[in-house]
Symmetry: C2
Subunit: 439 residues, 2 copies
């Protein structure tokens, strides 16, 4: 059992969230004179960069999720609670959770981000997010459910909205996801669904800026767009989604696309428990911290990763919401806490070392930026694959993922196209009469 | 699209259910002058013999499920509909489904079996079945959820019911599942849950007869019982479950075990659409057929596998509900339909060729009966592994399963212990106050 503050030998560091940032804090504190308590609503870490492969059936959920208890099984100062953190009480130095209260000496808020629909309730209601394993599974099920529905329709007009897939947001998530759905169209549709034509299926990628992968170099953005178009993805730039009623999506350029499937990758916002001063919130609902990742008016409390905007002179808007930032901040914060415990006065700000960015498009092409160095095509894809394989937690997951990728590379048609849990989306209009078939 | 009876060139064979029997019928009819329409509520085939490994986290669901459309992608006379079959109209020769009506010339009912709680509503309400991927996932989640709950309890009495696991039924399902849960206790508990003691965890196997694996030889039954006991499973024979209120299970010998987890493997019953003459139903809700697997008063309609009782002089109670029976009946029925289409008068009864039975206990021991020939221990486990690997559909699944087993063999602690979908069991009494922790 956990001990009260007065009974404990060592100070307690509570970490909220077992993402890239949270696990790095916990790891770095191994064998140190602190107690680490990690709290997450899930009992596993999610390797988010490969969520789109779960959504499109290349990988099983189990390959990109890693049980947190197992990850820390040899770390004797580590404790875990599967719980929702409801509220931080900064005065009592206590977090209130769905399974009780826990007091802390140091607290790291690493609770990540969720989809940001920018207040559009219709879009939020009818479109699918892709920020968790559960959401990725929903996408997998729902794409297949819609193809099953299309098979039941006698004429092309009725099939249209079941065979149009709209991905919103041209960042890495949207690019990788739309590319992978286009590969389903190219390599699977005719084989698995002989009654459907691949010419009836359309994959759209809608991006508000003038290029995809805007965070990468112009060269990579151009290459990625070309790869997408070669796969058949219809890339629509300088355009945002105005509305979506569950049947037809309306774009800012006035176009309308009939579709049952809108996948949202156009923005994220920080998610965190109650108890944070609202005045600290920056764009995208991120919590403002100082250069040392501390939340200014909460003594002993840090925020890192997607939920945090680390504001310094050089980074007035914070840092990008990517895994390496969270990981490096995790290491920094763990070291910062240890330096305080040693009464060292560490006032050096966190510095992000940008190793580069990459995104994959389809089965064997990618773009990679490392400083001024660019890679594209197959060699970039090999780099992407290598980096991601090395980053996945656990030998078993690495091996299984490698095999899945190898089989997919050689067969083009290896997908795990299972509808294990049907996704029941709120449905605005469709009548059951239309959904039946008589033969 | 599917064509009406009058428009079709070839007669249509509808197969209800994509289990071992159903897929065998469809396969055998490849390139024949018939149209095959397979209907299943899931879009995948489930390799049921390994469900217990999904339930205990050795394998991902995706490794033992195979998309039906993919399985038949090179069979041009194959069509699939994901639907629930509601009713058979034997006079109109039509099946009514959740997605419309389909007429048939021949119909094969291969809809399998579900858990049989023998009318005990309490047990049905609170215990977990293990007949589908979804149910196996629920077991996986629920076992882990209970261990997470146990961690929150300060004293041993409160932890007890979260750490007692009761498996009912000493057939292969119950034996394999209880053995695998005992291995979690032996190899995982202390590492992942340092706050829990493995001595507090108990795995019970309750069986109504005087031995486990009653369908196997006495020798194998004795060996399996010994293996289970060596793993720490408490085997309770000659005893049935009288009642279960969600908190405490009451046995026929008067004993009571406090437990939140009762897993039901004590019996199955046939499940099938409406439209079957109730007078034909045999013990276990199985549909009586003649020796040629035909339902007597339904022309052109066959029943095979777990849902059927193939009654002949030699088999007055039908055949055992195992995969080889369903597979052999599937082949037989496909051939029987083809012989009718060729106007051959095939009156030879179906004959089951029993190749033997096997069950595995724990990580590297099993029992195998082949006629008078017995295997046990490690060599039996290798046989079991080899036979099951060869039977799993799909190269990718075989490879991934082989790797998972190999890693598990060497590490003893490879489980995929994820709670992706929490299982919400009806909960009779527990109060939230008891379920929280204050530290």
């Amino acid at each position: 059992m956990l001990l009260n503050r007065s009974e404990r030998k060592f100070p307690r560091v509570i970490v909220i969230g077992g993402g890239f940032g949270g696990i790095e804090v916990a790891r770095r504190l191994k064998d140190k004179e602190v107690e680490v308590l990690l709290i997450d609503r899930n009992n596993f870490h999610t390797f988010q960069p490969l969520l789109y492969q779960v959504a499109t059936g290349t990988l099983a959920s189990d390959s990109i999720a890693f049980p947190l208890r197992k990850m820390f099984k040899s770390q004797s100062n580590f404790r875990f609670r599967m719980a929702e953190v409801l509220r931080i009480d900064k005065d009592a130095k206590v977090v209130h959770t769905s399974v009780g209260e826990f007091d802390y000496d140091y607290l790291v808020v690493a609770s990540g981000a969720t989809s940001n629909f920018f207040g559009n309730a219709n879009v939020e209601k009818y479109s699918l997010g892709m920020k968790s394993i559960q959401e990725a599974q929903n996408i997998r099920s729902y794409v297949l459910q819609n193809l099953e529905e299309a098979v039941l329709r006698k004429n092309a007009d009725d099939r249209e909205r079941f065979m149009n897939f709209v991905v919103v947001g041209g960042g890495p998530t949207g690019v990788e996801l739309s590319g992978a759905i286009a590969e389903i169209q190219l390599h699977m549709l005719k084989k698995d669904y002989p009654e459907l034509s691949k010419h009836e299926m359309n994959v759209y990628l809608v991006e508000g800026l003038g290029e995809v992968l805007a965070a990468l170099s112009d060269k990579s953005s151009r290459d990625a767009k070309r790869y997408l178009e070669e796969l058949g993805v219809k890339v629509i730039l300088n355009t945002v989604v105005k509305d979506y009623d569950g049947l037809t999506v309306t774009l800012s350029n006035g176009d309308q696309i009939p579709t049952k499937t809108v996948i949202w990758g156009a923005g994220v916002k920080g998610q965190f428990p109650e108890g944070i001063n609202p005045e600290l919130l920056q764009r995208g609902n991120r919590i403002k911290t100082n250069g040392q990742c501390q939340i200014i008016d909460m003594p002993g409390v840090y925020a890192i990763g997607d939920v945090a905007a680390t504001v310094t002179e050089k980074t007035p808007n914070g840092l990008p919401g990517v895994a390496p930032v969270a990981q490096q901040q995790g290491k920094y914060v763990a070291d910062h806490i240890l330096s305080i415990l040693k009464n060292e006065n560490n006032t050096e700000d966190f510095k992000y070392f940008d190793k580069g960015s990459m995104a994959t498009v389809g089965r064997n092409r990618a773009v990679v930026d490392m400083g001024k160095f660019h890679l594209k095509g197959f060699i970039a894809w090999c780099t992407w694959m290598f980096v991601h394989l090395l980053s996945i937690a656990g030998f078993r997951n690495q091996l299984v993922t490698f095999i899945n990728w190898t089989v997919k590379f050689f067969t083009k048609n290896s997908g795990i196209r299972l509808i294990i849990h049907k996704y029941h989306r709120p449905d605005p209009l469709m009548k059951t009469t239309e959904e039946t078939e008589q033969v």
